[in-house]
């Protein structure tokens, strides 16, 4: 269906801006807010021009208070609106964790469906662009551990647009994490007009049979690069973009590992307790008999993301480290 539409080449920020524009135009209940999202159009320009187009009742700036932003959005949502909040950087989400844990994900459950929170929280995350301290965090595992929310992390403009529109339509709260590295780092054909892509489906972005690289967001680009290098040596790696962490598409992950017999999970958050551990556990539970090597994780180190840009590429997984892990699993 998407393929039949006309397309244009857009980067991720442009695709997200287009999705927000379409959502605001389509559903009067959609409101967009956060710090600097209004007049300025967002620090990354994701909401560029939207306050001017839809007015300050629909697209507005808020006081600088993350807990306030999330709590305010919960209230708007309970009262019948479709709030889309922006937290300027995912590393700034922490003051809102009480709202997120105690209410955002729990409101439906604690009121037995009487009040629900169909809210989207967008936040740029991840490293690779030499940001200051705290701007490069990847808190997806913290968010994935909150019952009642969904966690979506797109890796391309076409996917970002359709997934964001699906997140806004979704009856439950959705975290929509956008890799800062990909905002302007990738460009691709994006279908015109309104379309949604289903949440909860992983997709195989490159087929192969030597090993499975399981990744999401900013790491998809890294894994595809690694797969290209490996292919030159005749090693065909399969790259699976998880895309939605919650709900997780376990069958697609398991099917890939059953095919290749080897798994490397790649994510840029700290290794211990990261979401990659969850992937490894599910593979161990459901595909152990197919494994020909231990499941390896390539991740950030167990340290805060380095605030000194000169060394950040030693923290953030790159193709070289992914290939090292691939070599290790191929030994078996």
């Amino acid at each position: 269906m998407i393929a039949e539409r006309g397309t244009r080449v857009l980067n991720n920020v442009q695709a997200i801006n287009e999705a927000l524009d379409l959502a605001l135009g389509r559903d009067e209940r959609v409101v967009l807010f956060g710090e600097d999202v209004g007049t300025m159009g967002g620090v990354f320009r994701a909401s560029d021009g939207l306050a001017q187009k839809y007015g300050e009742k629909r697209v507005f700036d808020t006081p600088l208070a993350e807990s306030g932003i999330v709590g305010f959005g919960i209230g708007l949502a309970m009262a019948g609106l479709r709030p889309v909040a922006e937290i300027q950087f995912a590393g700034f989400l922490y003051p809102a964790l009480d709202q997120i844990l105690s209410h955002l994900g729990r409101m439906r459950h604690r009121t037995r469906g009487r009040f629900t929170v169909p809210m989207v929280i967008r936040a740029p995350y991840g490293g690779g662009v030499k940001t200051p301290e705290q701007h490069a965090d990847s808190p997806e595992a913290i968010l994935a551990h909150v019952p009642g929310v969904k966690v979506v992390i797109p890796s391309s403009p076409e996917r970002a647009k359709g997934l964001l529109l699906a997140a806004i339509e979704d009856p439950d709260p959705v975290f929509f994490l956008e890799a800062i590295k990909l905002y302007r780092g990738v460009k691709a054909e994006v279908p015109e007009g309104y379309y949604t892509l289903p949440l909860g489906q992983a997709r195989v972005v490159r087929e192969g049979n030597a090993a499975s690289l399981l990744c999401y967001g900013g790491m998809v680009e890294v894994c595809l690069k690694a797969a290209e290098v490996a292919a030159r040596e005749g090693v065909e790696l399969e790259v699976v973009d998880l895309e939605t962490l919650i709900p997780l598409d376990t069958p697609t992950i398991v099917a890939s590992v059953q095919k290749t017999g080897r798994a490397v999970v790649v994510y840029e958050a700290m290794r211990t307790g990261g979401f990659g551990a969850e992937i490894a556990a599910r593979i161990a539970e459901e595909a152990l008999d197919y494994l020909q090597a231990p499941i390896l994780r390539v991740a950030g180190w167990d340290a805060p993301y380095p605030p000194f840009s000169a060394v950040e590429h030693f923290y953030r997984p790159d193709a070289r480290r992914v290939l090292e892990a691939v070599r290790q699993v191929l030994v078996h």
Binding site: G68, P95, R112, P247
Partner: protein, 346 residues
């Protein structure tokens, strides 16, 4: 009570000046106070019988809650209470049977009926204030004149969410009532260790909104102050911070022992300022009430309560698989797997 505290009745219930409520409102208010007290007394008995879970009593704080709830329309306005606000919930329209179930921690008691816009009691402190600001702001975006009312205690004003929520409400001119029941104690911590300010209502100036301190044991005062704030909010005048000076004469919860942190003398002093005694004396003074009416009211309240207990007792036992229901609108694969297991189907 300082001079800046709004008061209509003296400590014995004698009117200090003309009352801003009609005779029928005074009677309605008294009945609501008595109904709340009756619930609280009987709830504690149920708790001692093991027929209720941990229960946070509100004895002594009836007027502070009832006075605000009487100004609200349950199918139009919104109430976001903390755990000590069963009196507000009851007056706002929550059925007694639902409240009993709620304090039994039975999911059948979670979630108000469709015609009562009350969010389930909040347990974390002050988290509902930014949410109430959002609920209130949404009313204006939706073109309604509805207001939201939110209750916390004095301890809650130390939380960041209290300040963020009030600031949001102020900036967006949201139709919100933030009612702080300053009852002197946050469990065992007295107000003087909680804050340096004398009056919580003074904080309103920091947000650029009106703040008022009211005698929280004087129903007439609370009702009139809340009515003024509701009317202003409906007319687009924005939020109000109301500080109701009151006292928790009962323990923090049915598991608390207040003798570890406060004196009996202090409690006795406040028992003499009981909001129900004061209101009853006011009605007697005005010739609006008799002991016969009192007896008839007690009887009616007991009958209503017993019927509600019976109704609550008939609610079906929660099923184990309800644990994973209502996590998402549609059960996702992980909940579905758990649901099947809990039903014995996997």
């Amino acid at each position: 009570m300082g001079v800046e505290t709004v008061q209509y009745l003296d400590d014995t219930g004698q009117p200090l000046r003309d009352l801003p409520l009609s005779h029928s409102e005074l009677l309605q208010g008294y009945r609501a106070l008595r109904r709340a007290r009756h619930f609280d007394e009987r709830a504690l008995v149920l708790q001692r019988q093991g027929r209720l879970g941990v229960y946070p009593p509100f004895r002594g704080q009836e007027a502070a809650q009832v006075g605000v709830a009487l100004c609200l329309r349950p199918d139009y306005d919104w109430l976001l209470p903390s755990y000590r606000e069963s009196a507000a919930a009851l007056t706002f329209g929550m059925p007694i049977s639902k409240l009993i179930l709620s304090w039994r921690a039975d999911p059948a008691g979670w979630g108000a009926p469709p015609n009562v816009n009350m969010v389930q009691f909040y347990i974390p402190i002050a988290t509902q204030i930014p949410q109430a600001a959002g609920v209130a702001h949404a009313q204006r975006l939706l073109g309604k004149e509805a207001v939201a009312a939110v209750f916390i205690g004095d301890g809650g004003t130390s939380e960041g969410d209290f300040h963020e929520g009030l600031n949001f409400a102020a900036v967006f001119n949201a139709p919100l009532l933030v009612v702080v029941q300053n009852n002197g104690w946050a469990i065992s911590v007295p107000t003087r260790k909680q804050m340096k300010v004398q009056r919580i209502a003074e904080r309103a100036h920091g947000y650029g909104i009106p703040g008022v301190t009211v005698d929280g044991n004087d129903l007439v005062a609370v009702w009139s102050v809340a009515r003024e704030a509701v009317n202003r909010a409906r007319a687009g005048g924005g939020p109000t911070l109301i500080e109701a000076l009151t006292y928790r004469v009962a323990p923090h919860t049915s598991s608390d022992d207040p003798s570890r942190y406060r004196t009996e003398e202090e409690t006795e002093r406040w028992l003499k300022r009981d909001p129900i005694l004061r209101m009853k004396n006011c009605l007697l003074h005005l010739g609006l009430w008799s002991e016969d009416q009192e007896a008839a009211l007690s009887e009616a309240l007991e009958a209503e309560f017993l019927a509600a207990v019976e109704e609550a007792d008939q609610a079906p036992e929660p099923k184990p698989w309800e644990i994973v229901e209502q996590v998402y609108q549609e059960m996702q694969p992980d909940q579905q797997a758990a649901w099947k297991y809990l039903r014995g189907e996997a």
